[in-house]
Assembly symmetry: C2
Homo-oligomer: 191 residues x 2
């Protein structure tokens, strides 16, 4: 399990096995069950999560009580509310496991300490956030650019691993569609 994280870090920055033995001690290994909550809206955002195996989603609940997913994380992705985590403030978002998930978690304080002791990890996290930021701009483009039908099929074609693992109603929520609409266009495509 920690070998996987070692390999992921080394995709972006060179870290020796020896340094990694120290780096991994800043993290906690966690097993969470399907539907379990890791962060609840209204609470302080204290942790950053790295998914080893499984799937998380981050959502908010609007005034009508409808849940809207703003991001997913599967194997080798990070997840937290970036701004609330950085500023150590309350979050508007909830993070929940979509399926049974194995993950590494780190607190803000521990991450700061890690970055102090291993400043080369700044580069790793800088690249993680740069990818996340770039991807979210691309998502905005798609949400503007495509019709509702196109956005659904674009997503399922380009991210088949999500489409297979994540329940339809969560994909619908992420794309700003209703589950009924997704059933309808899927049925239309099959026919």
């Amino acid at each position: 399990m920690s070998e996987q994280f070692f390999a992921h870090i080394n995709k972006f920055i060179p870290v020796s096995h020896e340094d990694f033995q120290a780096i991994i001690t800043f993290f906690e290994f966690q097993n969470v069950f399907k539907k379990q909550l890791l962060l609840e809206a209204g609470n302080s955002c204290t942790h950053n999560y790295f998914v080893l195996n499984g799937c998380l989603h981050m959502y908010f609940t609007n005034e009508k009580g409808v849940e809207r997913t703003v991001q997913f994380a599967i194997d080798n992705w990070w997840m937290t509310d970036g701004l609330a985590y950085l500023n150590q403030t309350r979050t508007d978002f909830t993070i929940q496991a979509v399926e049974d998930t194995k993950l590494l978690s780190i607190t803000f304080e521990k991450q700061e300490q890690l970055l102090k002791e291993f400043p080369q990890m700044e580069r790793y996290f800088r690249i993680m956030y740069q990818i996340g930021y770039g991807a979210s701009l691309r998502k905005m483009k798609h949400m503007f650019d495509f019709s509702k039908e196109e956005i659904y099929f674009h997503f399922t074609e380009h991210f088949p691993e999500f489409a297979q693992r994540v329940p339809q109603y969560l994909i619908a929520s992420f794309l700003g569609l209703t589950p009924e609409y997704v059933s309808e266009i899927r049925a239309k495509k099959r026919s």
Copy 2:
């Protein structure tokens, strides 16, 4: 002008005047005119921009020829297509000056060299991207959460400096509204 950038970096990481004298040499100072293009869709994304004074926006043109703004940058903000810049690939976005703008630009190669010589700058850029990423998740929340009318007034109340400087049609584009719709709800509010 470079004092302003020095102060901005020091808001996030400690950098001595001496180090800054070396850091600033990696950047080029540029004056761009209103409507001037800094990056064009289809081209390679080679530069990262820091706005000293002025305003840039990043947009794409959809199949119908409509321009859609996905982000703005005013004083002390960075702007580039994060993913295309990181991977040094072609971009789908165009970056244009909304008004006459003074900025600092850096190429990908120079930025890599800067980060090698001054690794403490990794932390600075990590925080910049973390803020950008966090803010874009918050924007997605607002776009899901609010009605079209609410999203416009929320934006103009929370970001009055944008509302004053940026033409209405660009704010409309950024929020996924038509300029006609914005005129309509503004007239309604005044009456």
